[in-house]
Symmetry: C2
Subunit: 243 residues, 2 copies
């Protein structure tokens, strides 16, 4: 089986390792790629073709792992050359999956849940052709959630609605606990109901959110754009904007 | 040892069962009590004295388990007759513990975390005399958190800040998930990071919050009154007011 990547960054290079199998050969192209990407390609077990048109024509499955902002353009430009499955794994909005679907046949909407280089990343798929990708479950937890394009992206956004608001709530209550000089007790008392790992998990969420607050703000704004008024998300946005 | 109760409802009757021991005798009074309370007293293993003045004079430890709104009046009225420890277990504000402390010597501020008739309730104590109550840990998980009156009540309020806002966040995201027809997937995907019991725990929190939304609204208002502006709590309040 031939799997091609459009864009070859962290997600693609990790996937070639996760899905490594004697029956699968990976392909990509160096067409208009940065030096950094060329280096990543060189260090990976992947065959290099002249351009992405060739990657699309040649492969059974093409996976778009470029930047979210490029995902639609890439699909418009190369999708028409794919006769196999075209899987988008970029973190894109449900609206963009509908647009891509107009340019690509055999399109599958995919969302990676968790970090690709974490212990247990998970791929959610939607679209009629998603069934043909369920063999991936042998290598990485893979679930099809529906035949409808957009469902995987919606679910990812829905998950973010919860996790990002929760992080903002943790920031607000942890700061309050600190101001009362009760932060240890705060974690202790909540561990009773939230589990023994509540402290570590919460501190890691707080740290991650504060470290990449600019990106989290953009993601919260996307959520509000797409889902409309959500009071907890609006409050979370205000909290993150203080950083 | 003689332990007296001022007020004898669910908390007191459960405590007489939890702390049951051959060395301990429980006391209360039927003074100005409702028929319901008199029935609870009759069904419990507790000695009945003429009035609460006598209960206070006679007992080594007096526990106030009346209504939060009565806690201060009860302390004003009877506290002066206590020579032993006076423990308040009502769900009162930190400010009220400071007031009570003016009328009662050997005052201990106590907070029950979790429901008294649940699997694992927990008592947090603060105040210098709390050490003398740590024997309770033999019967019910009991922790002293500081010498300062008010710390236990502050911790309880701080815990509520988190748990009640979390419930509102769950309500908001679950409704969104339902509107997208993705509620099963919402629980599934979050179980990956939040634990296998995420679905059951969340649905139970949502149900409890909606069932007693009036009381939860009052508690959120108390939190805002005491701790000042908290954006997630304000948003939670708006969500609960929709019920």
């Amino acid at each position: 089986m031939k799997i091609g990547f459009i864009g070859f960054g962290k997600v693609a290079s990790n996937l070639t390792q996760i899905i490594a199998s004697p029956n699968i050969t990976f392909y990509t192209s160096g067409e208009n790629r940065s030096n950094e990407t060329l280096k990543t390609i060189k260090n990976s077990d992947v065959e290099v073709l002249t351009d992405f048109k060739e990657v699309c024509r040649y492969c059974d499955i093409v996976i778009s792992t470029t930047f979210p902002a490029n995902a639609l353009d890439v699909a418009k430009k190369y999708g028409k050359y794919c006769s196999g499955i075209y899987l988008d794994l970029n973190n894109i909005s449900p609206e963009n999956t509908f647009k891509i679907n107009q340019y690509v046949s055999n399109f599958v909407d995919g969302a990676i849940i968790g970090k690709i280089d974490s212990n247990n990343p998970l791929i959610y798929l939607s679209g009629k052709k998603a069934d043909d990708l369920l063999f991936l479950d042998e290598f990485i937890k893979t679930k099809k959630i529906s035949d409808e394009i957009g469902s995987a992206s919606k679910l990812k956004l829905l998950r973010s609605t919860y996790t990002k608001s929760l992080s903002a709530l943790l920031i607000e209550t942890y700061e309050l606990a600190n101001s009362l000089d009760l932060s240890d007790e705060f974690f202790d008392v909540l561990s009773e109901t939230e589990g023994d790992d509540f402290r570590d998990k919460s501190l890691s969420r707080i740290k991650n959110t504060q470290k990449s607050s600019k990106r989290k703000i953009e993601e919260l704004e996307e959520i509000l754009d797409y889902f409309g008024d959500l009071k907890m998300v609006e409050a979370a946005l205000e909290i993150l904007k203080q950083y």
